[in-house]
Amino acid sequence: MASTVVDEHVDHTLDDHTHDHHEHHENFITKYIFSTDHKTIAKQYLITGIFWALIGGFLSLIFRLQLGFPETQLEWLRPLLGKWITTAGKLDPEFYLALVTMHGTIMVFFVLTAGLSGTFSNFLIPLQIGARDMASGFMNMLSYWFFFASSVIMFFSLFIETGPASGGWVIYPPLSALPQAMSGSGLGMTLWLIAMALFIVSTLLGGINYITTIINLRTLGMSFLKLPLTIWSFFFTAIIGLLSFPVLLGAALLLIFDRSFGTSFYLSDIYIAGEALPHMGGSPILFQHLFWFLGHPEVYIVIMPAFGITSEIISTNSRKPIFGYKAMIISLLGITVLSFVVWAHHMFVSGMNPFLGSIFMLLTLIIAIPSAVKVFNYLTTLWKGNIIFTPAMLFSIGLVSFFISGG
């Protein structure tokens, strides 16, 4: 079967190229827009990711103007920002918070999750494991278009009258649950929640695809222990996403219930804008637990694909195999497992039981071990290598240096 497929392919290439085009019944729309081809989808993710990176970067420029030069007149931004510039010529405080919130949301989710995993996992997984395409091209296409719909809504929310979501990228209730608390918690927050729900659907569709493809569609002889580290990192990243994003979806749904249907999952004992609210018995801490159950694994969703890519680049450009291939896989696995049990280190002073604090402190420090092993392995790969400094290599060495500093 496989051989006939190859033969046909050879025939095509011998033929005129335009013929090839006709026989697949592809037109502009199926080829470039609603494409099921993993390479096209990867490029769609790349372009959308770059778009978001520009938007996110631009937002941070504006709020850093205010932060870095608090005395400066920003009147010249009025043609662009309108009423968000106060009469004193400064950024409106709520708009400042909106900028920080949207910058965080955009960079963490739209650029570093969708832009990074979406682009590289889609592009590289089939190519590096010898598969013809993803397990389900259709789901892959849906994944991008859910992301696109989510992007449209999130982008749209930047322009509404009451401003986009402004409660910080962690959107802690009650601030995010009560429109009385700030104007961004009105329509802006609703749009944020809808956009994120669509985003999570997109991530899950993508993740299921990556995992299925890596498990089932490896070519003959491509055993698990021969997979490039890039693929291993995409594999673990997809698993983390698949297990943690649904929890954020749950948290967001409960928040929608609290906001719109009068439930009290996160709200209790609140007096705001001159009235005592009827909500009783909820806990804002519950939201924090649910949020960080995704929020912490999310940082590994962001870094692990970069680890994988760096491993291959350093190995190739040092002209050496990666040192400790198996240790690298075990480290990735260790990070994957531990990433699920360290979330409450974001909540030490949230008011949760101090005993939990001690458990999470212990687990958090343990996760430093696989990270340390990875760094030592990168160093040993460079040792006695024959290093060629391509731009990719320079970036990769930069990543290791950066990871030692900030990781």
Partner: protein
Amino acid sequence: MIVCFILLFWYSIKEFDTYQIPIASEHGVITDRLFWITMAITGIVFIITQILLFYFSYKYQHSPRRSALYFPDNYKLEFIWTIVPAVVLTILVVYGLTVWNKVMAPAPEDAEVVEILGYQFAWKVRYPGKDETLGAYDFRKIDAVNDFGLDFTDKATFDDFSPRELHLPKGQPVEFRIRARDVLHSVFAPHFRLKMDAVPGMPTRFWFVPTKTTAEMREETGNPEFNYEIACTEVCGRGHFSMRLLVIVEEPEAYEQWKAEQEPWLSKNPEYLSSVPENLKELAMIKSQIEHTAIN
């Protein structure tokens, strides 16, 4: 780039004192020690690995006359650099746990209790008064004047007082009872190395011992304008930046005297006597020092 690094280091060293604000609490000394020990250990690893990274990159540049060493595995080496960080981290974990348990332990019984209430966008403080018990509250009793939602069916509320500034005695344990009225806030007092969220519906607490009076701190920092302050460190809306509460630490005698001078909340707002149940009215007037003439 090298010039940039030199400027960066020079700036960091020059501004070091502004990063490192003086400690004014007992537990602050031990948490800072933990911080600097962790900093030293990770700092050493940081410097060694960075030097190796750039030294290897420099030394093993491509040369056609040399070929790379084939060195894919060495279990002994890998074992060592898994175990060594594990041991070092175990030490840090044990040390960290002892510090954490000390700081988070329940407050001593003789601690001065102060309630801090966060709301959009300020802090209110309440002292228990002469009976040394904070009175009950209910968020449904909050109104434009009764910020705390004091529940006057509880006789412990009658002598509670609410000053504009937070006063603390030097050298005595103080326990903050922290709550929020609308959204999350966070009590942050950097000089006391203190931070704890204020959560609506879930009172939190944090205790510590202030070790330097405001006057001593003014001397130490050389700034006659110096004041301790509490800021909010949880985004809470439009006025988040402006949530500031002045804290005054004084000698215990001065503190006791200040406390004795404070008027109970109820005597400042005598119209709330109408919320007090009939059988407690007499007691309420005695405890809050309201004179009969004031209501007649």
